[in-house]
Symmetry: C2
Subunit: 334 residues, 2 copies
């Protein structure tokens, strides 16, 4: 029903090749250009991307493989990645791994079958074998936020360990000695941040007793239960580092519930500013990730790989973070 390039051919008397050339930005005589444009307007012609894809072997669509589509972190990344892609004329086919490695594995195959031009991954698995089918199919891959332990892919993220290490200085220079951590231990970021925390403590010559090391998952429940547990210890910490948004949220809920005050009862420092912590009183010290830049750099890199403009070995891009200062850290007597 919709007009095709053949209709344009008949209306203008030109050949398919010439019209195709025009459509793809090639040079045609001014008079022909006018004819073609008139015909296009009159017939409401639009190129059929499917037919085009069949011959070019490109879909102008990239697959986005996310560990979970309900996380606010994911939502924000999707927002920025989506804008950047659209600006370049690409669409995004999103698949949700539901925090399940088996689903993630299937999703990769699905994206391949959909012939996406590239894949952006926020992985759930820590190892990279699930991406092998895509790699073998020659599909460019860029990771965001989380590196893989056994194989290197292009990855845009922050230096989690260092960022945590630096953030911890804010606590340590205020003479805190008894500092606890609540961190996720299942993904890359949680482990790195935990390590950064331990680095800082070790470097300050401070010990971290096991009951101060709360490990869990990337969830509100981990923060909630973790904080509850910490605050019922006989020997409470004077400060707590929380490794991500969900954990921070959970921890704060628990504090509100128990009536603990920050920073009077305990000092807090967290990760992943999601805007709304700005509204909180007290304002929490927070490591802010450059979400927009991460999304944009990842897209830029992926499109570079797709076009062939980038052909070096896989690279890890670590972007800078910013510490949102607040009022949540108390200065103790030396």
């Amino acid at each position: 029903m919709p007009a095709t390039i053949v209709d344009i051919k008949e209306k203008t008397g030109l050949s398919l090749a010439t019209i195709s050339k025009y459509l793809n930005g090639g040079n045609v005589l001014p008079e022909n250009k006018v004819k073609i444009e008139a015909a296009i307007k009159e017939l409401h012609y639009e190129v059929n991307e499917i037919a085009r894809g069949l011959v070019t072997n490109k879909t102008r669509t990239v697959g986005i493989l996310v560990f979970s589509v309900v996380s606010p972190f994911t939502g924000m990344i999707l927002h920025h990645v989506g804008s950047a892609l659209r600006k370049s004329g690409y669409g995004m086919l999103i698949v949700d791994s539901c925090d399940d490695e088996e689903i993630e594995r299937k999703n990769v195959k699905y994206l391949i079958s959909k012939k996406v031009d590239g894949i952006i991954v926020l992985p759930v698995a820590s190892k990279g074998d699930f991406l092998a089918p895509a790699k073998n199919a020659g599909i460019p891959i860029v990771l965001i936020d989380r590196s893989l332990s056994d194989i290197q892919y292009d990855c845009v993220r922050i230096d989690n360990r260092k960022a945590t290490y630096n953030a911890m200085k804010e606590v340590l220079t205020r003479n805190h000695k008894k500092v606890a951590v609540i961190a996720s231990e299942r993904e890359y970021t949680g482990r790195e941040r935990f390590n950064g925390f331990m680095d800082a403590m070790r470097n300050a010559g401070l010990d971290v007793p096991v009951e101060y090391q709360v490990r869990g998952t990337h969830s509100i429940a981990t923060g909630y239960n973790g904080m509850k547990k910490l605050m019922t210890l006989k020997d409470r910490p004077t400060a707590v580092f929380m490794s991500n948004y969900e954990i921070t949220l959970g921890a704060m809920l628990s504090m509100n519930e128990e009536g603990f005050q920050c920073p009077d009862d305990v000092s807090l420092i967290g990760f992943d500013d999601q805007l709304f912590f700005h509204l909180l009183q007290p304002q929490i010290y927070m490591v802010e990730q450059p979400m927009k830049a991460m999304g944009e750099r990842a897209v830029e890199l992926l499109l570079g790989r797709i076009s062939g403009a980038v052909d070096e070995d896989p690279m890890e891009i670590a972007l800078g973070t910013k510490l949102q200062r607040g009022t949540s850290i108390k200065t103790l007597d030396p």
Copy 2:
């Protein structure tokens, strides 16, 4: 490079038509079936969806047009819609309207150019003209959550007005007379819920002074500022209804900040349970939407339209809600 149906043809000696028939579930002789399956395995053949799409004029992909991809409500819908679609072999091409009607309008055209088989919409606009191009192209459309004012499309949602009306009974039977509302006025749901609130008050013979009617946007800021304003009135309300998740979150932050206690200082009732309110103390009364059912029904309906199994006039499906009872409403003396 990847194997095609022609390779299978040559390996088996059968015709393209027969192999295609097999691939699409048709009957072939057992011996041929064996031959074909062997060849497929040996050559790692997978059907090229692009080529198939060119002749069938189907992409097995549906477009998802969301008002904002960063909202947790959207994330949850995406999760359920995505699962349901995948179960039926469909993928989702997601486009983000960034709460902007102009972008939304462009996105519709983009989805059409991508030849999606159907579109699921969480609209930002209140009027439906932006969907006209898709309708004219014969692409089935299903709305979720928000109806349009001027034209009827298939829509899966709840009865916001009634749900609010019923929820308000919990407040009114506890003898509250001075009840305020914080509601978004820009989208369908906010307006309906506001109306439901006013219905309930009117029906109880109660007046709602204008300073008790806070209208704003679907945002944390509206809830935060709204609650702050309400609690500084000389004549404070004894209860507040909050029309959605973000507003509820903002309102609670403000209360925590000011040190107001719920339900001692003010009773609260909200909308959109997002799991994590379960963790809160006190537990807030919340109208819970059937997110999973909404996503699944919408997909079911859309696929029905696509296949032609459903061909009645557009329908509005209003699913039932559930009131999560809590401890956030105080019983006043009569």
